[in-house]
């Protein structure tokens, strides 16, 4: 089964389940029950399932269901839980501060999840686009440090070899900061090469003040500048790929604590008459 056909199948199943939940909720209300108890408990169970995916990851040594199946379940259950949440809240914005925070937390977690699955499926293919290599995120700074060192040496060499400080000055003002850390995060994210094009134009603009040897060194520097840009690109993407979980996971725990509190409040004060 290809990923595409699996996706269609799962969307179909997911939509069918969501529709039957809407129907169930309507029928429950019709039977003179408080439908928010039904949707509420389904929500709690659904959210608990979504949360324990993180727990499953802590037990790779147990013969549990493969994580890939879990993630499929997690993604589609996530969409169903959003539907349940809308049902539960009657699509209204809440009024009290507690409930507003709760509501915002839910949509922060759900929203980051939706964005997360989108980038999870879209960014990886782009990671090796520039270098043709798949780099380990933690090692990118090492490669960048190597490039920076090589460029520094080139700049130093230019001083002695062409007895001019043009390249060295340019290095000190522009290149040294450029190589010091990852740059142009947002441009890389949106696939724009404008910063690189600008920088290369700037490098080319000093070419006319150099002799032959100086131009060779400049060419070499430009190669390093491009290589650095090619490193920044997967760095930016990997940062996003790792970053969204910094929202999704911590807020999940906050959300679950709020959900627990909500259950207590509802049962204590809303009249327990299911």
């Amino acid at each position: 089964m290809t990923f595409t056909s699996r996706r269609y199948r799962n969307i179909l199943i997911c939509a069918a389940i969501a529709a039957s939940l809407v129907l169930l909720n309507w029928l429950f209300d019709m039977a003179l029950r408080d439908a928010s108890f039904l949707s509420g408990w389904l929500l709690i169970i659904g959210m608990a399932f979504l949360t324990i995916y993180n727990l499953r990851k802590k037990f790779p040594f147990l013969p549990l269901i493969p994580s890939a199946y879990w993630l499929q379940f997690h993604v589609y259950l996530g969409f169903i839980v959003i539907v349940l949440f809308l049902l539960h809240t009657s699509m209204e914005f809440p009024r009290g501060p507690f409930e507003i925070t709760f509501w915002l937390l839910f949509f922060a977690v759900a929203g980051s999840g939706v964005i997360g699955i989108f980038i999870t499926r879209n960014l990886p293919g782009r990671l090796q686009q520039r270098h043709g290599e798949r780099l380990i995120f933690e090692r990118i700074p090492v490669f960048r440090a190597d490039l920076a060192e090589q460029v520094r040496e080139l700049a130093m060499k230019s001083v002695t070899e062409i007895s001019s400080s043009t390249i060295a000055d340019y290095y000190a003002v522009r290149l040294n900061p450029y190589f010091a850390e990852p740059r142009n995060f947002s441009s890389h994210l949106f696939q724009s090469e404008r910063p690189l094009v600008n920088l290369r134009r700037e490098i080319r603009s000093i070419q006319r003040y150099l002799n032959k040897r100086g131009r060779e060194i400049l060419d070499d520097i430009e190669v390093h500048v491009i290589a650095k840009d090619n490193l920044d690109y997967p760095y930016a993407l990997q940062l996003v790929l790792k970053g969204w979980l910094f929202v999704h996971i911590p807020l999940t725990y906050s959300l679950m604590i709020f959900a627990l509190m909500h259950v207590v409040l509802v049962y204590a004060f809303a009249g327990r008459t299911l």
């Binding site: 019709m30 039977a31 009024r95 933690e138 906050s254 604590i257 008459t273």
Partner: protein, 369 residues
Amino acid sequence: MGLLQKFDFKSSNYERPTLHWVCGNISTGKVCPIGPDGRGQCRASFECEPIKEGDRWSCTRSKSSDGKCKAGPRPDGSCCLPITKCVPVETVRGMRGRVVAWAVSLTIGLLIIATHGSGAVNLLSPGGLTLKHGEVGTKCETCHEAFESGLSGWIHEAFAPSDPAGTSKKCLSCHEMGAAPLQAHSLPRSALDQSALEMETLEKVKVAPVALEFARSLFGSPRKIAEELACTNCHKEHRGTQFDKTEMSDNRCQSCHTVRFASLSMGHPEFINYPYSRRTRVQFDHVSHISRHFEKAGKEKAPETCTNCHEPDDNGLKMKVKGFATTCSVCHLEQITGVGQVGQKGISFFSAPGLDVAELRAQGAAIGE
């Protein structure tokens, strides 16, 4: 530029994402072999630990770290190459673990403040009350008895068994609902059973909505499982000042009423004695009827005494109006049913002013030119 990565074991060792801290020199690529300890402290010391061979100290640096150094150990037996201390950095996962811990403690802290502080009322309230209820008071405990007992009391209350009567007690302290306040329509069981019996005699209409039948078979009707319903089952609060607490869908009526029908126009049983013993809501203008309409309609249709239209109730305390069939219908039935009428049926209460085009044209008035 060629490929950056080398895969051989000499150039690339295991990447360890499970560790919390890594060497701070990672960004320069000169990572020391020992790495930080579990608390993120750098513990780099020297590149090797010299060993005494006879009376000479000799270097023990391993081959993987370029082998023995040229200078060799110091005379006192210490290594000549101290490693520069670094500030270890957190791994991505280490950082995330810390953020999770922060989020959890922050949330719990916030909730403790929200539930224990004096502002709990404002923070926890799920929304404003309706206008009338708002006048009763803004304190939670006015309606929610358990509120005063604090968080532990709430949890206790939350786990207590279902109790519609208890929950509705506070409502009933203001709302006088008779002897059976939590029964349907606040009528005693006997009256409901009586009415149900009457309904049994009616011809059953088999056009009940499928959904309703389905809901009933899935969840049963409330009367079967609960003798009483709490007020809050139907009447919601905390939905703002303008919320209509009494709004109810047709379907919800039918979940109890044993005779079911698709809609008012389809399958609704014949009204018997409608509107029962309730006075009509139509404002009857005695003055205009006696002075104008009865004059026009003629003596035979006009009532002769009060009791033509009015009758005392069972205990003789109140005067009630007789039903439509014996009163209004004498004159108005044909208007309503449309017998012998020209144009639309019904009584015209007002008509919109219009242009008599034929008359205007006959008078030679210029219209629309």
